[in-house]
Amino acid sequence: MLDPQLDASGNLIHLLSTEGLSKDQLLRLLDTGASFLGVSDRDMKKVPLLRGKSVFNLFFENSTRTRTTFEIAAKRLSADVINLNMSTSSTAKGETLLDTVDNLCAMHADMFVVRHESSGAPHLIVDHLRRTGRDDIHVINAGDGRHGHPTQGLLDMFTIRHFKGGFEGLHVALIGDILHSRVARSDIHALKTLGAASIRVIGPQTLIPTDIEALGVEVHRDLERGLKDCDVVIALRLQRERMTGALLPSATEFHDRYGLTHERLKIAKPDAIVMHPGPMNRGVEIDSAVADSPRAVILPQVTFGIAMRMAVMSVLAGGGA
């Protein structure tokens, strides 16, 4: 089956998932991100690549950081950005997702940045556009349900490459709420393709999806064992708003067993970096002392996120990678 992200000649024209992207495509995106890094450092923080294009931010789920960084990225490419808060829009009045899309197409949209609580919603939009012959409109998945958050995955890869120089031989650990984490899935697919030596997921059994080993990861219930010799430690937010039923006794108990502390970090390599996709729950999945330490690269992640989103938008709009 044709990857819905690609056009007939195999060019990337939508970004739905890091799964299915080739190593060359991933590296091309990371290299392009690197070239955009300098733009944000200039006095004139704009280049004219997407001048005259309209980017619609369709956020069916709350987000501040992701929506803002997408908005900044589009504006630094000189696009016009229209933010739609779908929870207060026509969808709330009963309009279907695809009717909303059709209406925005009639407003001459060039790109949709979509966040949705349902896995697969951006894919549904791509299928609809393709069926109705509007495949020149690009779709970027900004997080769908538990499925994927590919731009976060890409900015994580960018951060790892920036601080570690590459991926070969790297041991990477993802800690905490893997079950609800679309970031974890996007990271795992990208790390696998880019050739990390090992990918470990660490957390309580209730927060680790069954059969996740099929993605080629090691599963650890024991934090100490999982952290041994790690180069990169990614703490994930405990997504309590998505938890239905008794998955956890309490946040305190989670912190006691899986919270990232300086003491536990000693088990990882001495030069290991600590990442977090945000927003952080200090004192739950990560200690304040760790989050504020020089090993934490959480704020560089945010800066790199803008460059990577500029890269994704310009690669899609420019005919693909």
Binding site: D31, V39, M44, V47
Partner: protein
């Protein structure tokens, strides 16, 4: 069309271009050299060595300013633009290897002005091959040559990563 086997020596042409530029830098020593990636940067670095005042060299990659982005997309290896000094109020010599349609020059000017408002900009090129599509002209030129549209005139450096590498011309039919 010249014989591809008997092209002029690019290194000698740079020396010639440096002689043309010398009075500019004597008159206004604060003048800045800005090369257009990739060949223009190589030439600008050479010119800075030839000129007595060794002026600072900047570089622009025009990939983000091209007028054919929507048709051709982004080139895979965008180099970082680096303007080492504040160009506002200073005379600038923009340096490129080949002047052809003039579109690169237009894009480079647009990018340059995002870094500041220079006092003036003049264009120095190693080769002017004709075929202009925009009202652009070189102020300094070492080699005027008329080439058909299908000809591909390229400046190469051997070895490519060596700043002292030898610059040579190659010419073929596209």
């Amino acid at each position: 069309m010249p014989d591809p086997k008997q092209l002029p020596d690019a290194e000698q042409q740079i020396a010639l271009l440096a002689e043309q530029l010398r009075p500019v830098f004597e008159r206004a020593p604060e003048t800045v050299l800005i090369g257009v990636f990739t060949g223009g940067v190589w030439i600008a670095e050479r010119l800075s060595q030839w000129l007595p005042s060794h002026p600072p060299v900047g570089s622009v990659d025009i990939s983000f300013y091209r007028d054919d982005f929507s048709e051709r997309g982004l080139s895979p290896n965008v180099q970082p633009t680096s303007v080492p000094v504040d160009i506002a109020g200073k005379p600038v010599i923009l340096v490129d290897d080949v002047l052809y349609t003039g579109r690169t020059t237009r894009a480079a000017l647009n990018e340059l002005f995002d870094y500041g408002r220079p006092q003036s900009v003049q264009l120095a090129v190693l080769a002017d091959r004709g075929g202009r599509q925009l009202p652009v002209a070189a102020d300094f030129c070492a080699w005027a040559v008329s080439l058909p549209d299908n000809a591909n005139l390229v400046l190469t450096r051997t070895p490519v990563d060596d700043p002292k590498g030898r610059l040579t011309w190659s010419l073929d039919d596209a």
